[in-house]
């Protein structure tokens, strides 16, 4: 029995924390909230690529680190703690998808670029009514003489505005039935239109992607049927785990901010942290965060080693951690009082990230329902 991080993982955690504290201070995150920032800090991403973090989950033969989901969760926690914007999540999920597909030339082309941070590839997956998998796909493709023709509207596509290519999820006719398919579509392909979906959390940039008679060659079809569905299920679970880890890091950061403030802010001639109402609020945050951390590690480990529990554990983690993060965000705001309600202070950055994290890749309700299903209740 050893429920804990390896020495390497602890090193990754320390390195990432120190690096991001220096390279991604709150001032940098504030800048992303300015209207004209595209939300992709390229210099930071170059450094992260050099540190091997962008390719953490890519196989070694493609320039990656061949790491585990727990490794990625350790990093995601630190990215959440620092509120790092940009296509980390989009790219990591694409790496997970690409490394499992059958088309070798596509793997060879894209995985090294993604590991080096030289491309952005994002899943054009969710649609109008759903932002979690599985759901009945409306976007559809047809196979013709010139290749594949795609039509449909994709929503909540991460970082589409800076993407080089999309992994479009759609349905294809398979005999008389329909089959799920994943198709690679370059950004500049005719018929692709991208519109921003402005979110309060400016560290995330979801977009709408409309595909209007987009035609690509047949070799762009990366996966179909059961293989595609299994792969997407795994990507959904990985997204849940990575976001749960992000929530954990964000919640810890907010707790630290609140506690630090409660020690120095004085009212009625004493630090506000000496009032039991404030002290207990802080203690409640700790009581929420500490057990939750174990849930994240368990869910990441299940992705790596316990495939039958992966979905269950991912939903426990995402459903719970996203609630913890938003609770902590509210409580931290209450500790700060008026000053927490400003744009100038750091708090609102994490407060808003908590709101996005809450609903992305399945709301807490969606994950609760899935937990109940996985338990066969």
């Amino acid at each position: 029995m050893n429920f804990g991080l390896s020495a390497d993982q602890e090193l990754l955690q320390r390195t990432a924390r120190d690096f991001l504290a220096a390279e991604w201070p709150p001032a940098a995150a504030h800048a992303v909230f300015d209207a004209d920032h595209d939300g992709y800090p390229r210099k930071l991403y170059e450094q992260m690529a050099q540190l091997g973090w962008l390719g953490l989950l890519a196989p070694v033969e493609f320039g990656g680190a061949g790491g585990t989901c727990l490794d990625a969760a350790v990093l995601a926690e630190e990215l959440g703690r620092a509120a790092v914007p940009g296509p980390y999540l989009a790219n990591t999920l694409s790496i997970l998808a690409l490394r499992q597909i059958g088309v070798a030339s596509v793997r060879r082309q894209w995985l090294p670029l993604l590991a080096k941070g030289q491309a952005v590839v994002t899943l054009a997956w969710f649609e109008e009514d759903t932002a979690a998998w599985p759901f009945p796909l409306k976007a559809r493709g047809s196979v013709g003489r010139f290749g594949l023709r795609l039509n449909g509207t994709k929503r909540f596509v991460l970082d589409a505005h800076v993407a080089d290519a999309f992994l479009v999820v759609c349905r294809l006719p398979a005999g008389r039935a329909q089959s799920t398919a994943i198709v690679l579509v370059p950004r500049e392909q005719a018929g692709v239109a991208v519109r921003p979906m402005n979110d309060v959390d400016r560290t995330r940039r979801p977009c709408e992607v409309v595909l209007n008679d987009v035609t690509v060659p047949r070799r762009s079809l990366l996966a179909t049927g059961g293989q595609a569905e299994k792969l997407l299920a795994r990507v959904q679970n990985a997204a849940a785990v990575l976001l749960a880890a992000d929530c954990l890091g964000g919640a810890e950061r907010l707790l630290e901010m609140a506690v630090e403030y409660a020690k120095v802010r004085r009212q009625f001639g004493r630090p506000i942290g000496s009032f039991q109402a404030v002290k207990h609020r802080c203690a409640d945050m700790v009581a929420q965060i500490e057990p939750a951390r174990s849930l994240v590690w368990y869910a990441a480990h299940a992705m790596d080693a316990l495939p039958r529990q992966a979905a269950y554990a991912a939903s426990l983690a995402k459903g719970h951690l996203s609630e913890v993060f938003s609770n902590v965000a509210e409580n931290a705001l209450r500790v700060f009082g008026g000053i927490g309600f400003t744009w100038e202070r750091d708090l609102h950055i994490w407060f808003k990230r908590a709101q996005w994290n809450r609903y992305a890749f399945g709301s807490p309700e969606w994950h609760r329902e899935r937990v109940a299903q996985e338990c066969r209740w």
Binding site: F126, D129, T130, A131, R155, F156, R195, P196, M197, N198, D199, V200, D201, E208, R266, Q267, F268, G269, R270, P271, I272, S274, F275, Q276, A277, V278, E330, L333, R334, G337, G338, G340, F341, T342, W343, E344, L347, H348, F351, K352, Q355, W356, R358, Y359, A360, S363, E365, W366
Partner: protein, 400 residues
């Protein structure tokens, strides 16, 4: 117990309702895009208040000689109910009408009442509240903005913060320290300050919602005539508390909660879940009904308080209970809305994909602001515990 209104009141209600149906301002699309403090938006808001006033529906219970109609509280309650029912926009002069106005009626000189009250009603003059300072929030009485009486003028120096609407307000009701040597509750005075006075500078602060909702205000040798002192010199704490009670009742208004809840129910009918209207979903029904119970409790609680007022019964800690319960309830209503919206919950007003123009994520944040403003929930609980229940006070100053 009699929950009916006498016939003449019901007739009055029908008149108000008909008037509102005809005169409610339309909400042109472009307006929603204007900044919170855009002059065009303010101008429109003033026009609306003026129109409502001219129809005779603003602060009807104020005495006639100051622009009111000396109506009873029941008449006013009917207007408030109808405004909610019609989903009328809030009044821009709210802090004047609901906070400083009633305070002046109670404590002001005849000259002050005649000078200020009518223009509050017509929205000719907008007011802001200069209470909080960087080091005096929950502990308001430790405020340090200094006012020295020189001849028949006060010279004001210092800083206020979180002052809502100061960037477009014409007047501020302001707490200043006039006797720095007295114990902290005793050296405070309540002044009315012309925001156009030389020596005042205002810096808008952006709120987490992205709006310039509140400000920092600096005073550098600002001269205020002695005639703008409300109440006695150094006795401003008592006046300040009267305003605070009005503020808590305003923030704790059951009508605001009803309006927000009605919007939530509309949203639930609009949203779909698993192909059905969300309002048919058992989980959603449970949540809505649980909220409805709290909302309705506050509605009837407001009627009970109305009766207490009519009968002149003491209100005790009612204002603090109202403020605590309503602001927390308002926030819970917005949480329910976000959960209905799911992945669209966080879309802002700039997004083409926002539902209800991005209202709910904004209200979600705004209602937290209201939990903090006007005295935080913790402070209301302290008041309820100490003044209401007679529990011993928490230890205050720690030895250094």
């Amino acid at each position: 117990m009699d929950l009916t209104y006498p016939p003449q009141y019901e007739a009055f209600r029908r008149r108000v309702r008909a008037w509102l149906r005809k005169n409610l301002p339309s909400r042109p699309r472009g307006l929603a895009k204007l900044a919170f403090d855009d002059p065009r938006r303010i101008e429109r808001a003033k026009q609306w208040q003026r129109k409502l006033y001219e129809a005779g529906y603003v602060a009807m219970s104020w005495p006639k000689e100051y622009g009111g109609q000396g109506a009873d509280v029941l008449t006013q309650a009917i207007v408030d109910e109808e405004l909610v029912r019609a989903q009328a926009p809030p009044l821009i002069g709210q802090m004047g009408i609901q906070m400083v106005g009633p305070t002046l009626i109670q404590f002001g000189t005849e000259e002050q009442k005649r000078r200020f009250l009518p223009r509050i009603l017509t929205a000719e003059e907008i007011w802001c509240q200069g209470y909080s300072e960087p080091n005096a929030g929950s502990d308001l009485a430790s405020l340090q903005t200094r006012a020295e009486l020189v001849g028949d003028e006060f010279i004001v120096n210092g800083q206020k913060i979180w002052t809502s609407n100061a960037q477009f307000a014409d007047w501020m009701f302001c707490l200043v320290r006039t006797d720095p040597h007295a114990p902290k509750h005793h050296g405070i005075s309540y002044l009315l300050i012309d925001m156009k006075s030389p020596g005042i500078s205002v810096r808008p602060l952006i709120q987490m919602t992205g709006e310039r909702g509140f400000n920092e205000v600096w005073f550098e040798n600002v001269r205020v005539p002695r005639s703008h002192l409300v109440g006695e010199l150094h006795q401003g704490w008592q006046v300040a508390n009267a305003t605070l009670l009005h503020e808590r009742n305003m923030l704790g208004a059951a009508t605001t909660t009803q309006q927000l809840f009605a919007a939530l129910v509309r949203l639930a009918k609009l949203c779909t879940r698993q192909g059905r209207s969300a309002v048919e979903d058992p989980v959603v029904r449970q949540r809505l009904a649980a909220l409805a119970m709290r909302v309705e409790a506050m509605r009837y609680h407001a009627y009970r308080q109305l009766t207490d007022t009519i009968l002149g019964r003491p209100r005790g800690i009612a204002a603090s209970v109202n403020k605590l319960v309503s602001t927390e309830l308002n926030h819970d209503i917005t949480v329910c809305a976000l959960n209905l919206l799911g992945s669209y919950a966080t879309q802002t007003s700039e997004s083409k994909f926002a539902v209800d123009g991005g209202r709910w994520i904004r209200e979600f944040m705004f209602t937290l602001g209201m939990i903090i403003g006007g005295g935080t929930s913790e402070i209301q609980k302290n008041i309820i515990g100490e003044r209401g229940l007679g529990l011993p006070r928490e230890p205050r100053a720690l030895p250094e």
